[in-house]
């Protein structure tokens, strides 16, 4: 068709027709896709989701997973082996006569030391709970401000947080010791707890995930007259559940493994990891004792991990929000 010969009004008519045809085709295609997407019972289905894909993914992940889990399995097996089996030739992948002797020895030695073991258990629980609670409370409020508020210094602070992650503790450790000695914190609970609370890793993760939340959420709350604290804990936090659970896992882990290094030397202040590692290092049947101590130390973070992961409900963060 030669467009040159048409008058403007005819041209417009022509174009309108073409547009209508294209629109109709698009509509048809979308309806088809939509039908394809909807199951017979009306529930939505994701594209490309088939059981064959899922089985393939499952097999791939299982193979990789076996490689990941195998050394941990070996540790568990070794902790269950009696002494005579540890040095068996060739080594077995299972315990022929599994016993709990290694664990029993561990706890027997632990309870025989001159500070009651319950004291160490209390220390560990106290340090871990206090550090995790305060870290979560402080890091979440700070992350919210850094992610969503504009104020003088915001950009600089965000930069500092990232840069601080790049520093490692080999050298700063001495300076940290000097600072804490000047504050009179050596050999106190404060030395165990306070340095792990401002962990920038948790703050950074929280900030990063909060930036993905729509601003409209906050604006709506502001119009309703909510203060920043209210917005943070009432609106932002419930929508950041996956990140929250992740930083709880991180902080719990670092608090649980906190030994205090040379900042704490009093027996009465020592945590479970310190005690257990001391025993394992001096034990009789070392290989078994080391494995047993590793298994014991792994249980609490594992429990927290499972609890946290189960708690991560597939939150519909943006439900009812249209940007």
């Amino acid at each position: 068709m030669k467009k040159k010969n048409l008058t403007p009004s005819q041209l417009a008519e022509q174009q309108a027709k073409e547009n209508a045809a294209a629109l109709a085709a698009l509509q048809k295609r979308r309806e088809k896709e939509h039908k394809k997407m909807m199951k017979k019972d009306g529930t939505n289905k994701r594209v490309g989701k088939s059981w064959r894909n899922d089985v393939g993914i499952f097999i791939l992940l299982t193979l990789l997973g076996l490689f990941m889990i195998f050394p941990i399995y070996l540790a568990v097996v070794n902790s269950l082996k009696p002494v005579q089996e540890v040095y068996l030739m060739p080594p077995k992948l299972y315990a022929m006569e599994p016993t709990l002797d290694n664990f029993r020895d561990l706890f027997k030695v632990a309870s025989d030391s001159w500070v009651p073991f319950s004291r160490n258990v209390f220390n560990s629980i106290f340090v871990t709970v206090v550090a995790t609670v305060f870290h979560v409370a402080f890091a979440c409020t700070a992350a919210f401000i850094l992610a969503k508020c504009k104020f003088p210094g915001a950009a600089a602070l965000n930069r500092i947080i990232v840069v601080s992650l790049l520093f490692n503790s080999t050298v700063t450790y001495i300076m940290q010791y000097i600072v804490m000695a000047n504050l009179g914190m050596i050999n106190t609970y404060a030395a165990l707890i306070l340095p792990i609370i401002p962990s920038t890793m948790g703050l950074f993760l929280m900030r990063q995930s909060m930036t993905t939340l729509p601003d409209a959420m906050i604006e709506a709350a502001e119009i309703d007259g909510a203060g920043l604290m209210r917005i943070c804990w009432g609106i932002i936090m419930p929508n950041s559940k996956p990140a929250l659970m992740t930083i709880i896992i991180f902080e719990f882990q670092s608090a649980w493994n906190a030994t205090g290094g040379s900042l704490v030397y009093d027996e009465a202040l020592k945590t479970i990891p310190v005690v257990v590692q001391q025993i394992a290092a001096a034990g009789i049947a070392r290989q078994g004792a080391i494995a047993a101590s590793a298994v014991v130390l792994m249980i609490p973070p594992l429990a927290v991990f499972i609890a946290a992961q189960r708690n991560v409900m597939e939150t519909m963060a943006h439900a009812g929000m249209k940007d």
């Binding site: 080999t170 306070l194 401002p198 920038t200 990063q208």
Partner: protein, 320 residues
Amino acid sequence: MAQQAAQKEILLRSERKMSRKEKREYTLHEMKRNKMCYIMLAPFMILFIIFTAIPVVMSLPIGFTSFDMASFPKWVGLENFYTLFLNDDVFIKAIRTTLIFAIFTGPLSYAMSFMLAWLINELHPTLKTIFTLVFYAPSMAGNIYFVWQLIFSGDSYGYLNAFLSEFGITTSAIQWLTDANYVLPCVIVVQLWVSMGAGFLALRAGFQGIDKSMYEAGAIEGIKNRWQELIHITIPSMGPQLMFAAVMQIVSAFTVDIVGRTLAGFPSTDYKVHTIMTHAYDYGWVRYEMGYASAICFVLFIAMYICNNLVSKLLSRYMD
């Protein structure tokens, strides 16, 4: 048009008119208006300044001194850095080793974390939890890499040697962790094994936070398969988490140290797994030459900083 130009003119004039004094006043006013922000930042930031910022700032000048931790640091200027790059063969070797490790624990492990987190996300919720746990478990188990010592053990108690001889592949035991030919690959395997850490878990959380209705909308807009879904929906809405994982991966890639030191002993055969961090540990905590160790850490920090800037530039280009 004319109106726009006029508006532009007004804007320009107001910018030009803002003197230094006015700017300061404006900043002060803004700070007062956002008082609540500072109050909410305070608890974290005060602790951060005391326990991280002050020690870091205090330790920066140490790299320019000779400091044995017994007497007061003595200023030596750039001497540490001259020695490091011109007179320290082990350091040059350590740079090479660190780069080898960095390739594996950096880009490779980053890609692996992302792929795994994505694949896991496609499964049933219970399987999600199980697989996330399985892949994160090595990072959770603290010092459990001692088990690898049992696997790679050079005597016939070693699992790998026992396995290989049982199937007749080898006849004599291989000294996996002391033979210069094998020690580096062995440590790399273990390093990869522990590298599904914070970055992986953050990516998992990122996937979980994605709005499901986006996928439905995507399907309507004509997305055909999961690859398209990944590229057009998932990655753009996960930018911040990808950045977090990248930073964590950079840090862990450049600070590889303890795994090699535990498994291959210290010092390792031919300095095969001697990284920059191992070098810093050597000078700081074995020889007590803190000034030199600080200089090493300073160089490492600069390298990480440059790398971090490059990666954030790259990511921001693809994200927005």
